[in-house]
Amino acid sequence: MLWYKSWLETRWRFIIGMALVLCSAAGTVITYPHIQQLIALTPTMDFSGPLGKEIREGIELARTFRGFVWSNWYHQNLPHLATLFAILLGTAGLLSESRGALFTLSLPVSRNRLLGVRAAAGLGELFVLTFVPSFLIPLFAPAIGESYSITSVIVHGLCAFIAASVFFAFALWLSTIWSDLWRPLLVALGVALVSPLAGFSKVISGETWFRSGQLPWGGLLASAAISAVLYSLAARNLTRRDF
């Protein structure tokens, strides 16, 4: 029943997230023919400077469907949405329950189990959010005369899930420190904003897989390790906490 409770408490965040990610994934496929038409105009434009270099690179990537999907979906939209909803799902912690925390804690359930179920339910939702919508791309691609590899969907989905789990665990940990909703949310969003500076976007986008067919093992292992540490810190906080 704790699973059911976790689902009831997070379902709207999950459903809204799912709707946004599904629309965004479908939009990636639907807009591609229009993007191709725009690319035909680019030789007449002048690109100079660092921004111009980035635009030029984006255009080059968009010349192939595979490149466009990576740059538009796996490099931009999915990481942003996955990070945002990982944080939103992670902040739905025990302490932020507006009512009912004392009732929950009076049940014959250990705090570790409460946190474990909450984390597992949230990670399950995050997994669906980061994994399932991307399958729309190989599904819809034939409609515009393109195709997309299922293997790439799986690999990029794994990268997005494992990397976004860090933000989920971070938000979960913060929500065991502060009992309000806003501080964990704002701090986690702040950290998410600066995370690309630490090379995080390469991991979450699976860039090495796209460019060279190599999995970003180091980044994935580091992400999993950071998530595990944050989770154990959250468990320790919750065990020691007075209510």
């Binding site: 009512r99 009732f103 014959p108 209510f243």
Partner: protein, 297 residues
């Protein structure tokens, strides 16, 4: 011959709890025998809720020992406890029916027969969301969730807090009715003395984190008394040496003594001082409480 000591369901020894340097409990000793209905009285901020939270494992003691069913509180002990918090915290997003099914899943000894009885008796709207319930109905739902667990110990924190007198009476009657039919121990905090007088057979009064009065109501009524001593002229300024003198007030020809050890020794001392009359008066629980927790003048 001594009565055999009943099994202790709740026991604390030298229990201390500090929050950011402020002592909420300062060496609380508490003993609750099986089968008793214990009212836990104290002023606001006396440490009642903190004690209850420690007994349930919701807060950790700074030092001292708290035992429930003879051992430190853990998840398995909570299977034997029914609890209703002061705010009647429940999940607002669940329906009454969801809330009952959710809670029942954690208690193998859940009493489905009682559940049906209390749903009817409390007239609970099963399909309504908990957040849409009035405070009184939410309290009744919280009571049902505590009663049906098959618990051996019920802990209520201010069960009638925020209820109108009629609803408060309904809730008290529900508790009395339930306890009369089921063998269990009840520990409930309150600052409503009339409530405690109505349903408790045992009382603990806590003040500033310490237990200052504890015992059965009958014992307390027997031990506590007020002795009015009248002198022929101005009452002498005297300090009684008899044991149990808690408070002495001198007003003209009269000295009023509040004692927790009977009146015989004080009456003897008063006679020796030349008192013209000594009247021993029984006291109410309210007087015991007020005299015990009021500041020394």
């Amino acid at each position: 011959m001594h009565e055999p000591m009943a099994e202790l369901i709740v026991e604390t020894s030298e229990l201390r709890k500090s929050y950011d340097g402020v002592e909420a409990l300062r060496g609380l000793d508490l003993q609750l025998p099986a089968g008793s209905i214990c009212g836990f009285l104290g002023k606001n901020g006396a440490g009642k809720t903190t004690t209850i939270k420690i007994l349930l494992g919701l807060a950790h003691p700074t030092s001292g020992v708290a035992r429930v069913f003879g051992s430190a509180i853990d998840a398995s002990a909570r299977q034997r406890i029914g609890f209703v918090s002061e705010e009647k915290d429940l999940y607002g997003y669940m329906t009454v029916d969801d809330m009952i099914r959710f809670t029942a899943a954690f208690f193998p000894r859940w009493r489905a027969d009682l559940q049906q009885r209390y749903v009817r008796k409390f007239d609970l709207p099963l399909m309504r969301k908990v957040k849409e319930l009035s405070r009184g109905t939410r309290t009744k739902l919280a009571l049902l969730l505590a009663f049906c667990r098959g618990a051996e110990l019920l802990i209520f924190d201010e069960p009638t807090s925020g209820l109108d007198p009629a609803m408060a009476n309904d809730v008290l009657q529900a508790i009395i009715g339930h306890v009369a039919n089921e063998a269990m121990t009840v520990f409930f905090s309150s600052h409503q003395i009339a409530e405690v007088d109505q349903i408790a057979d045992r009382v603990v009064i806590i003040d500033r984190g310490r237990s200052i009065v504890a015992g059965t109501l009958d014992d307390l009524r027997e031990k506590f008394c007020r002795i009015e001593i009248v002198f022929g002229g101005e009452a002498p300024a005297v300090t009684f040496r008899a044991p149990g003198v808690l408070r002495t007030k001198r007003m003209g020809r009269v000295i009023s003594v509040f004692s927790n050890a009977g009146a015989d020794d004080i009456a003897a001392e008063a006679s020796a001082l030349g008192a013209v009359s000594v009247d021993v008066m029984p006291v109410t629980l309210k007087e015991i409480f007020l005299e015990s927790v009021s500041e020394e003048e």
